[in-house]
């Protein structure tokens, strides 16, 4: 036991054989340390600021500020440049770290992994993210790079399908907008707007640091003490447009250079619990239901596969967070409409019969096993943790929450949301023939 004082709160899960140390740092930052004997140590420093936060104000402001789409992602790119002209990758390179960053709908995260010099690298991470530097010239340069990133995504049918589906499901929720924005929207970004967004969202009270590896919490704290200055206590108000329970439109189609039709089916859920732990329970129910109804052992998938209507596993995604909640299932099929018909009739059957209790228990056990697997790598722990704390949850509780979910929880969800009005589909068809 390397813990020498009690400034940290310790949380342990004996079944997972994992624990973490938590401290609310005096700068305003929440710090989580997962000690784990692995080769790779991993750190992720994130702000609760993603692509959907495009309209916001500070408490007390009269008006909302609306900014161009794709700005959180643009800001993520620009953070790697520093006033002294040495880019951040070069600073890390001296200590052998492998660094990266990403922007999602709800957060922006800066991360590195390394096998030595962890605390030096952590110093760099905390330092560069807390020191923005943008000029008109560097912004212009980045517009060219990000334009190519956007073009690349526009050529990826899987990416096009999912955003078409989100546009179908949601009328107003900003989750319907591409995370990187469009070539047009990013052309409106200036250094001034970047600073404005930075100053609101990169406040340490809106951020978290999660580190995992062969790490001493005390030393992490020492790096935080030396780098971080206290952030002013602010309250951010994010504008969330009201969204109707039913989908905005049920279908969309477009043509691309693909071999055969591809589809994504979505089931929209707007009944989202306020409480973080309740949302985690909702996520647990949804992940079991998704696997049980559409996964590789499901009746639905196997029937369609046996009949030759599907040739590969469906790609599944279930999402349940404070801003949006849905299931998606996607794949390739000669006749997407037929898949959709089978989907609706199968769901009606499930709804009237209810899920089998014994089978439910078996799928639940698989999900628990998958959760244990998630604790094998320092990167999946740190990333999973950051995502869950920003949504008011805690991944260390997830296996236990899964264990307590009942078949009745699943049946009531199914009865509530499996209905035509909540279904949408996007299709990409081949250009030729």
């Amino acid at each position: 036991m390397f813990l020498t004082n009690t400034v940290f709160k310790v949380k342990e899960n004996p079944y997972l054989k994992e624990k973490y140390y938590y401290i609310h740092h005096k700068s305003g930052l929440d710090v989580y340390v997962f000690p784990k004997k692995m080769s790779v140590s991993y750190a992720i420093f994130g702000t609760r600021y993603g692509s959907i936060d495009n309209k916001f104000r500070l408490k007390g402001d009269a008006e909302y500020t609306e900014v161009p789409d794709g700005i959180a992602h643009f800001l993520e790119h620009k953070m790697f440049e520093n006033e002294d002209g040495v880019d951040t990758f070069k600073r890390y390179a001296k200590y052998g770290a492998s660094a990266n960053a990403y922007t999602s709908f709800q957060l922006t995260a800066y991360l590195f992994s390394c096998t030595s010099n962890f605390y030096e690298n952590l110093d760099i991470l905390l330092d560069f993210v807390t020191h923005p530097y943008f000029t008109p010239e560097t912004v212009a340069k980045e517009q060219g790079i990000i334009a190519q990133e956007i073009r690349m995504r526009e050529d990826r049918p899987g990416n096009v399908l999912i955003f078409d589906l989100l546009k179908n499901m949601y009328a107003r929720n900003s989750v319907r907008k591409e995370i990187a924005g469009t070539v047009e929207s990013i052309s409106k970004i200036t250094a001034d707007i970047l600073y404005r967004c930075y100053n609101v969202f990169y406040n340490l009270n809106n951020m978290s640091l999660c580190v995992c590896g062969d790490i001493d919490p005390e030393k992490v704290l020492a790096v935080c003490d030396s780098v971080l200055l206290a952030s002013p206590d602010i309250e951010i108000e994010r504008c969330r447009e009201p969204e109707k329970p039913e989908v905005y439109r049920s279908r969309s189609e477009r043509k691309m250079k693909v071999a055969r039709p591809m589809f994504d089916i979505g089931i929209k859920n707007t009944d989202i619990p306020e409480d973080g732990t309740e949302r985690m329970k909702g996520s647990a129910v949804m992940s079991i239901v998704s696997d049980m109804l559409f996964g590789s052992s499901s009746d639905f998938f196997n029937e369609l596969y046996e009949e030759g209507l599907l040739s590969n596993n469906l790609s599944l995604w279930s999402e349940n967070n404070r801003d949006f909640s849905f299931f998606t299932l996607g794949g390739e099929a000669d006749e997407p409409e037929k898949i959709f018909e089978r989907f609706t009739s199968h769901m009606e059957k499930i709804k009237s019969e209810g899920l089998d209790e014994k089978q439910f228990a078996s799928f639940k056990r698989v999900q628990v096993a998958n959760t244990v697997r998630g604790f094998e790598s320092t990167s999946s722990i740190a990333n999973g943790f950051l995502n869950s704390v920003f949504d008011g949850g805690d991944i260390l509780d997830y296996a236990d929450i899964l264990g307590k979910v009942t078949v009745e929880d699943a049946n009531s969800l199914i009865r509530r949301i499996f209905a035509e009005r909540n279904y949408a589909m996007s299709v990409v068809r081949p250009v030729d023939n």
């Binding site: 004997k37 080769s39 980045e142 190519q148 690349m152 590969n312 799928f363 094998e376």
Partner: protein, 439 residues
């Protein structure tokens, strides 16, 4: 961590990579055979058909549920090439029994399933089931056609196809659509009866179970082949230098972005004792966010989002790929080649060299945290006739000199330039992009 090898039977080896830090165990059974245009499609189809069902679990649903019952064990099939060797087989990812809530012996149960997948498939009239063979043929053909969906992957494949036309390396591991189409169920049954006995078989175990126990389990698994197999010689024809002026190929495709792929003969293969010197060159030139390509093609000229160098260690090929505006093709190509020349001339700082070494070493040390990477490392090594660990390479890498890197850069020669010219108007998608959604 030392790789331990034990012979199961003639031509069948168990490779154990001891590791106690994971929550799951991994086992894979790899069949290695010369990449052969006549057999590639048969091997590709075989792993798919064997995954469809077995004697005790005759369809995918029952097989899948049997795996679910042992704590969601993953059974994956795969089929790929290294150099001019085709590698296909199955892997198992199994939760360690200490996380089971009952006394299920997960490894034994999982191997019982794998044993049936390999040796007791679902049969009809003594042969593989016709319906499964026909269905998987269609699926395999769909997969071959679907390669075009991934534009950057397609461009890389097309470059290699053109570059290695007439060399065995260009044979696709799935075979061609025509080859798959003409396979009859009885052809596949006949192939199935022979193929295992004519492959080199490398079994890997990554985990911390007792080695004698694993050895016993694997010996038991391989009982049907207990009298050994006839392992073929695995070789690869390496061209160290591009033989002619670079080939230039441009193809139109409906896409918004152009994809440029430069195919080089790298001059180095994993069998070379000084291969680590080439790896540093690669890292310095196109392997990290501080490399020459990233710094110049992306950051300085703002031409692209990605520009990386990847290399095939067995055939001796290096590919540089980038997604760009069509009109920037020459500009990007010139800069990619100019940077290569500059590295060969020694135009890089001590700091850049040091950074490349640290980056590469960090990547090697990270291998120890991923079971799949550990296995891929050692499987690759044994194909190249060596057994050195990632850590042993770390020591060697730190000693490489500037001259050695320059020499490796000078050994790289351009063979083929492939350009996928995107013909879609880039602003096409923006039209009607935002319909009015206000109610």
């Amino acid at each position: 961590m030392q790789l331990l090898k034990k012979t199961i039977a003639e031509g069948i080896t168990l490779n154990v990579i001891p590791a106690d830090k994971f929550k799951t165990d991994r086992i894979s059974v790899n069949f290695l055979t010369p990449l052969d245009p006549e057999k590639a499609a048969l091997n590709a189809l075989l792993v798919k058909v064997l995954s469809r069902g077995t004697k005790s679990w005759p369809d995918m649903k029952s097989l899948s549920r049997a795996l679910d019952d042992i704590y969601g064990t993953n059974l994956s099939d795969y089929n790929y090439k290294r150099g001019e060797t085709q590698i296909f087989g199955f892997s198992l990812g199994m939760l360690k029994s200490e996380y089971a809530v009952d006394d299920t012996d997960i490894i034994s149960e999982a191997l019982r399933i794998l044993s049936e997948v390999l040796f007791s498939p679902a049969l009809e009239n003594g042969g593989l089931r016709t319906d499964y063979v026909e269905a998987e043929k269609k699926n395999l053909i769909d997969d071959i056609k679907a390669r075009i969906n991934n534009k950057s992957g397609w461009a890389l494949e097309r470059c290699v196809e053109e570059m290695c036309a007439g060399e065995r390396h260009s044979v696709s591991v799935t075979g061609t659509i025509e080859q798959v189409e003409k396979i009859k169920p009885e052809d596949l049954t006949k192939h199935y009866k022979n193929i295992f006995r004519n492959c080199r078989i490398e079994i890997f175990y990554v985990g911390d179970a007792d080695i004698d126990r694993i050895y016993g389990l694997m010996k038991n698994l391989m009982t049907p082949l207990s009298d050994g197999v006839k392992a073929p010689a695995l070789s690869v024809d390496v061209k160290r230098k591009a033989e002619n002026e670079p080939k230039e190929i441009t193809e139109d495709i409906l896409a918004k972005q152009g994809k440029l792929v430069l195919g080089f003969r790298s001059g180095s293969v994993l069998e070379d004792p000084d291969y680590h010197m080439f790896k540093i060159f690669c890292e310095l030139y196109g392997g990290s966010p501080t490399c020459k390509l990233f710094e110049n093609v992306r950051e300085r000229l703002s031409l692209c989002y990605y520009c990386w160098a990847s290399n095939e260690a067995f055939k001796g090929i290096m590919l540089v790929s980038s997604g760009i505006e069509n009109t920037d093709k020459d500009k990007a190509q010139d800069e990619i080649l100019r940077q290569l020349k500059l590295v060969a001339e020694g135009d890089f700082s001590e700091e850049e060299l040091e950074n490349a070494k640290l980056s590469l070493c960090n990547g090697y040390k990270e291998i120890y945290d991923q079971k799949g990477s550990l296995e891929a490392w050692y499987l690759g090594r044994l194909l190249a006739g060596r057994e050195d660990s990632p850590l042993e390479n770390v020591d060697k890498i730190m000693k490489v000199t500037r001259e050695e890197v320059m020499q490796k850069a000078a050994g790289v020669s351009l063979d083929t330039v492939y350009f996928m010219h995107g013909t879609e108007k880039a602003d096409a998608a923006e039209e009607g992009e935002e319909e009015d959604v206000s109610d």
